[in-house]
């Protein structure tokens, strides 16, 4: 179904779509951080948050931002990973491994193996995301 919007309404609607996207991304990050903190301080988090309610809100905004996607104005240039990117990946992998270890350290030797594998997976996935080629852009370049 298409709605005929006036110029002003169109501008407002575009703004609303960007708001959905921004709110979803920010809430998702806060939600994931809350989940992480809850693993270590469950009582403190539970005193303030009902994580299920929070998840519902994130899902609602996630759905809105997918149903009504905002136009991407910025075209990101593809760059080769710099040493800063590599250091960030290593730091995130180590941090992830430490967090997994803190949760699983009571399991004995398996509590050491799983964090190491977890850190490797985090590092590998981050590297793949960073070095992933934009296929559309490649096609455009090939076709001239």
């Amino acid at each position: 179904m298409k709605f005929h919007l006036s110029e002003r309404e169109r501008v407002i609607w575009e703004h609303a779509k960007h708001v959905f996207s921004f709110v979803f991304q920010t809430l998702l990050v806060i939600f994931l951080l809350t989940l992480l903190i809850k693993e270590f301080y469950p009582d403190k988090v539970n005193a303030y948050f009902n994580i299920n309610w929070f998840m519902i809100v994130v899902i609602v905004f996630g759905a809105l931002s997918i149903i009504f996607p905002a136009k991407n104005e910025e075209i990101r240039e593809e760059k080769e990973p710099t040493w800063k990117d590599k250091v960030l990946i290593i730091a995130l992998a180590v941090l992830g491994g430490i967090i997994i270890y803190l949760k699983l350290r009571n399991l004995g030797w398996i509590g050491i193996v799983i964090p190491i594998l977890g850190a490797l997976i985090i590092g590998l996935l981050s590297w793949l995301v960073l070095t992933e080629k934009n296929e559309d852009q490649d096609n455009e370049n090939t076709l001239g």
Binding site: V19, N46, A47, Y48, N50
Partner: protein
């Protein structure tokens, strides 16, 4: 006409014709150029027009993009704050936020349980039901309940009471007024209990008032310390024993001996026995037994085992389970009751004295034959138990 004259005319005509065609072409070329110039001029004008219109639109779009970021981020942050605010407002429950390191949660419930938390973990429970208060010559539980007798009738209309015990249900002829309530404990009314928390910068005070006779249990919990004080207030009491429930703890005594917790909850692998007391025929007994509720009859018979000890004039007792330990003492040597059968323990608190509990964090205890005292090595202290007690008494004195 001769041929020469004719040729001359032909030649002149041809030249005239050529000149005429040339002029015509020149004229046409001039016209084309003029048209082209006009077209070019028209295109230029149109281009200018398009440029004016498109440029305006481009400027408008650029303006919209600039507006977009500020508005989107502003509205987005506002929305996020509203969402988080609503979630926190709806779910905020201060009772889940524990005072550190020790917190005490008093619940106005049956038995007046007072749960002690250490670093957000429930460790043990002080109890109004297990505490004993003596006024004059009469001693009773501090906080009890009101019980009515359960009554059943035989086929002749005679009344019997039945009492549920650990391994049996006992049916007895009713010999007293069935409407008379059996009251256990000095206090039993939940509506009279007042619980107040008073949090200051350095400490938390929890006050439990039981309603009358100015009977109060007050807790003083210093901030970020591993000990607390229990103060008893009552008009003219002759004896008070603070009761607490500690499951599975051994007791280390000041003389170096250890009381091993021999509590046993034995499942007798059978249902509870139904015992009818009185001179009745078998048929009459069976009739009465059938009147007992099926849920009571189906319940399993258990047997609680465990030794009981009591000591007078003891400096302290240390309750130990793995690396968890609790020192319990008063200002003066006092009496202790240890009932492993129920995992219930009591410390006597005389008038003018208080009870103190120190929670040892990751404790290692060894007995020193030189000092005749337990040597404690935990997260916060390394030394003898008596030195630790002196330290705690001094620090608590400073807070007040």
């Amino acid at each position: 006409m001769d041929y020469n004259e004719r040729n001359d005319w032909d030649e002149r005509y041809r030249k005239w014709k050529e000149e005429k065609d040339r002029k015509k072409r020149q004229e046409e070329a001039r016209n084309d150029e003029s048209k082209r110039a006009k077209i070019i001029e028209f295109i230029k004008k149109e281009e200018e027009k398009v440029e004016r219109v498109v440029g305006k639109e481009v400027k408008d779009i650029e303006k919209e993009v600039r507006l977009h970021k500020g508005v989107v981020i502003g509205i987005g942050i506002f929305l996020i704050l509203i969402i988080l605010g609503v979630i926190i407002y709806v779910n905020y429950d201060p009772s889940k936020i524990r005072y550190q390191y020790i917190d005490i949660e008093v619940r106005n419930a049956s038995g007046l349980p007072m749960n002690v938390y250490y670093k957000e973990r429930s460790l043990f429970s002080l109890s109004g039901w297990e505490s004993m208060l003596k006024q004059g010559n009469q001693s009773d539980r501090l906080y009890g309940n009101e019980q009515y007798r359960k009554i059943i009738f035989d086929d002749k209309g005679k009344a019997y009471t039945y009492i549920r015990l650990e391994d049996q249900i006992r049916l007895e002829p009713l010999t007293m007024d069935p409407g008379k309530v059996t009251r256990i404990g000095w206090f039993s009314s939940q509506s009279d209990v007042r619980i107040e928390d008073n949090i200051r910068k350095e400490y938390k005070k929890t006050s439990v008032s039981l309603g009358f006779d100015n009977v109060e249990i007050n807790y003083l919990i210093p901030k970020k310390e591993n000990y607390f004080k229990v103060m008893i207030k009552a008009d003219n009491y002759t004896d008070f024993s603070l009761g607490f429930v500690l499951n599975g703890y051994d007791i280390y005594l000041p003389n170096g001996s250890i009381l091993i917790n021999d509590h046993q909850n034995v499942d007798l692998n059978k249902q509870v026995d139904l015992i009818v007391v009185g001179n009745l025929t078998e048929n009459e007994k069976d009739f009465l037994k059938n009147k007992v509720g099926s849920e009571d009859k189906k319940s399993k018979a258990i047997q609680l085992n465990g030794t009981s000890t009591s000591f007078d004039d003891t400096d302290y007792e240390i309750f130990v389970k793995n690396d968890s330990a609790i020192i319990v003492f008063s200002e003066m040597p006092t009496r202790f009751e240890n009932l492993f059968k129920w995992n219930v323990f009591r410390i006597g608190v005389d008038q003018g004295n208080n009870a103190y509990l120190v929670i040892l964090d990751n404790a290692n205890l060894t007995y020193s034959e030189d000092k005749l005292d337990w040597i404690i090595n935990d997260r916060y202290f390394n030394g003898s138990a008596n030195d630790y007690i002196d330290l705690v008494l001094n620090k608590m004195g400073e807070i007040e």
